[in-house]
Symmetry: C2
Subunit: 585 residues, 2 copies
């Protein structure tokens, strides 16, 4: 690895240069640039690394810093050997960067070197010979480095080192063998878009300060509503900080629709409200109910069949039960793609019940929404068009960088009425442009991060058909895994049948357990298998997959595939790795 002082070119030092001094990037680029005959060399060199017209200053206490700022390339135009030509970050601090006077050159050099570190990481992320994670225990990491914050500044050499160190211990979420979460993969266009978003550094509340992003949010949400199937894509929506908050929005809006007085009067003014969701649904429904003053006891968990799908007859029974008690059913949250099993609740049957009892129908398609992009798989969400609101996280199955979660609402204006507070310092009514684009007041947040651009740019780059191909490929890989292990010795499926999403849930049974009777002792021993294999995976850093218990089922592996980098060979590798790491248990 190149030392910071010699630049951060991601590909190590240049072999074959015949230079025994191991010149770093800055110097190397400078040397390259200087040898160009057309005049560009000097310009590039000057722009990136220094002022070719003047020699570096020396002498005096400010000299090293001044020299570093003036930049490294103080050589004559040619021939140039630039032995002192590096940007010496050890003499530079944040205060030497823009907006500092003369800050342009060190800024460009610094940002370019940060970029080189990032490019190195990106390339490594996709390299199967690198580790998914270089795992260290928390106390090890805390002892190995000094992470503390101090009064005095560090120089830019140290800052660049921190960037390298941070990435060294980061998990490579784009690695082809990283299967640990619903959000995996690293999309290059999405990444570029997120860098741009950071650079634009603005907020979503008004058109005034985010003109393009506000329009792109409008266009993108409308497109998503069209895909859901709402006529003309009409309705409302917002990008929120994650699926849990999107689900909470749905609960808030459903409550407001039924009892608008709750906004001013609170829950004291309304009868006891009951929400329904399946026992396999996401825990955010309960979190939301706790936050909103509804209470977790008022979230009724509906039974699921053996595949994890909500049983409509149980839903209807529980709705009636609640009504008999004098409670008011106000929301059913059906799940399209449960977290563990990847199950799709029967949306049409749920919609019928919601219609019959006049209950707001929400669909939590945070995980399954991506399947709407696939002509082959979207039938699994049939009935979603009858929902009143839908959570759909493009940062999951569609591979958009974190985070990107949308809440879509069928009725227009409801979000605004539910949340608006008319802050006059932000949403002035006498602006000179069309105020309907100042959408911030419908949010629960005030400032809101720009999450739309990465989705929009990826959509442009892939087209709907590109997302479809991505979804179809991941589903195909899941089926490939299922077909291999369903009859393989040493595996038991948690539920029967082909996966509906990319979730494949299974136990690995080590040889020592295969002949045991199916009793408590076996269950107890089996429950320890997945945690040990997972711990070993992390220590070797070869792959990562999640596990958990569920109901009366002891710890099992939940494989999910949303990473477009994964191939059949990676699935094969995962199976071999589980067997390698688990055979002695």
């Amino acid at each position: 690895m190149a030392s910071p002082g010699s630049g951060f070119w991601p590909f190590g030092s240049e072999d074959g240069s015949g230079d025994s001094e191991n010149p770093g990037t800055a110097r190397a680029w400078c040397q390259v640039a200087q040898k160009f005959t057309g005049g560009i060399g000097n310009k590039l060199c000057a722009l990136l690394y220094g002022d070719a017209e003047k020699p570096a200053e020396s002498g005096g206490s400010q000299a090293p810093r001044a020299a570093a700022r003036k930049a490294a390339c103080a050589c004559d135009q040619k021939p140039c050997s630039c032995p002192k030509a590096d940007v010496n970050y050890a003499f530079l601090h944040a205060t030497d960067l823009l907006p500092a006077c003369d800050g342009e050159r060190p800024t460009l050099a610094f940002l370019q070197d940060v970029m080189n570190i990032l490019l190195q990481y990106v390339v490594k992320s996709f390299d199967r010979s690198t580790k998914v994670i270089d795992f260290h225990y928390p106390n090890e990491l805390l002892q190995e480095y000094n992470w503390e914050l101090a009064d005095q500044p560090q120089n830019l050499e140290e800052i660049l080192m921190h960037c390298q160190t941070t990435l060294k211990y980061a998990i490579k979420t784009g690695h082809p063998r990283y299967f640990n979460q619903l959000s995996t993969g690293l999309d290059m266009v999405g990444l570029a878009a997120d860098w741009l978003t950071s650079t634009a550094n603005t907020n979503m509340f008004t058109y005034e300060i985010a003109p393009v992003f506000v329009l792109l949010e409008y266009v993108t949400l409308k497109k998503m509503r069209e895909i859901i199937g709402w006529p003309g894509g009409s309705g409302d929506g917002i990008f929120s900080p994650g699926g849990a908050i999107s689900n909470m929005y749905a609960m808030m809006i459903a409550r407001f629709k039924m009892f608008p007085e709750v906004k001013e009067k609170g829950m004291a003014a309304v009868p006891r409200l009951i929400a329904f969701t399946s026992e396999h649904s996401h825990f955010s429904l309960k979190k939301g109910a706790a936050a909103l003053g509804i209470g977790t006891d008022s979230v009724i968990l509906i039974k699921c069949d053996e595949r994890g799908k909500m049983i409509p007859s149980d839903l209807e029974r529980r709705v009636l039960e609640a009504k008999q008690k004098g409670f008011v059913p106000f929301l059913v949250s059906a799940t399209a793609g449960t977290t563990v099993y990847g199950a799709f609740d029967p949306l049409l049957a749920v919609a019928d019940i919601c219609k019959k009892y006049k209950i707001w129908m929400h669909v939590d398609a945070a995980w399954g929404g991506g399947l709407l992009m696939s002509r082959k798989h979207k039938w699994k969400l049939s009935g979603v068009e009858r929902a009143n609101s839908v959570t759909w996280n493009p940062h999951k199955m569609m591979g958009v960088p974190l985070q990107c979660s949308a809440l879509l609402v069928r009725e227009e204006g409801l979000m605004q009425n539910c949340n608006q507070m008319h802050a006059s310092y932000l949403f002035q009514q006498d602006k000179h442009y069309d105020l309907s684009y100042d959408t911030g007041d419908k949010a629960l947040q005030c400032g809101r991060h720009v999450d739309v651009f990465k989705l929009w740019l990826m959509w442009r780059a892939k087209g709907t058909t590109g997302f479809e191909a991505h979804v179809d490929k991941c589903l195909e890989l899941a089926e490939y895994l299922y077909n291999i292990i369903k009859n393989r010795e040493g595996y038991e499926m948690v539920f029967d049948g082909k996966p509906q999403h990319t979730n494949v849930c299974f136990w690995y049974i080590p040889p020592s357990l295969r002949t045991l009777e199916d009793n408590e002792e076996r269950m107890s021993r089996l429950s320890k298998v997945a945690p040990v294999i997972k711990a070993r995976m992390m220590e070797y850093g070869t792959t990562m997959v999640s596990y958990q218990p569920l109901g009366d089922k002891v710890n099992f592996f939940r494989m999910v595939i949303s990473n477009p980098a994964a191939t059949h060979q990676d699935i094969d590798f995962l199976i071999e790795e589980i067997e390698r790491l688990g055979q002695d248990l």
Copy 2:
């Protein structure tokens, strides 16, 4: 501006190269690289732009794409004129980038060209000769470009163009003359850190998938609590998606502390709760109360003095009044740095009242928290150490990129108890590392964006003393502005006295209004002045500053300074610009 096909070097085409074909970056770099004698040239050229060993493929339908992927530089090693050496993005799509086989070269070229666009934007952001905004009305922008999403992919040339277009119409929030929001400026280290965060693309819920970031959050929150003044920095906290959500957290936790049963039973099980905050406080307190089922009617607005500070005697009066009605005062939210006036509520007096009546004391220091970094100004928050919780947004006064908001809580464990739902698929209890670092269950969110790294890296780069210098400088600039306009003809201050924060609130009185009597007609005409000047500022793109009415005060300008790029000359410019744009009104 360079066309996409010829690369995106940020500094235009190379003059003096003597090449009439106006070669783009890729070719230029390649040419430069090829002329280097040490072997590095070929390597750089190959890595970034092509395979120097093989000629570009030709013929067959896949040929242009293959050639583009194999990359442009098909020349012999030297001499190299590379007339076809560009990466022709018109033949490349997202599917040609990593993780595609052979995707490394086009990926590096593409990301580098994106970076060149971003660097160009960064440099322009600080250039006073560029516009703060190239303003277009929503319908103009919608008509001028096709932003719609389609089935088919676009090529990478188009994607790069979209990046340029998006930035062309973006507001330059780092521009030295952008004063529109509390969050302004573009910190180079913060930006680098945010790029890194995007590249790491992970979530904050567990140590397992964000080892370093989880530790950095721990270290940073502890440091912030130390600065607040809680003994040993003990307590709890979280980075949340913005100050509104941080305030909502505080309200939730305060409620839970007093009535833990609210989590399961909801608001129906508790008496009527009352929150108190000043009439100048942020609207998020009401948003939070509406969301949490408390209701906006239960947020009592306490009177402020003429400087916008909460009047403690009115607070006590209203607390007693609520108690007499049988209601339960559960939260006082004092503001340290109000949005419009920049006022600091008298925290010590508020703390005494909270102690006397056993009410949770929250301090909304979203805007004013940064002053804690300054030995000169932190006295304005005296008493903050007696708060039970504090909202502090480093993305405001400390110039950290958006978004970065912290909620700090004095009592440890409360957040966890308030919010945890024990999702077994995420927070497995049989992991092989110290589970106390799996902090996700204390959040209201499930997935949570990594907001800490940019603050941590900036803190390392600036030191506490660097933040102090930043704060002191902005406060000094505000005082400079105040001193100029307080006695200047054509200005009226909204309140008397030196600003406590960087908020300077004033009316500009055009010559035609200066001789009018102080009656309704004058007020009516004055109310139209700021909106027109603001609209003109945006159309000229020269500067931006916010305005609003407040109470019985008609539209006035609220100047705020958090941008480290601003200088005395920029303040002078603002005054001149207001006069230039407003003198005819």
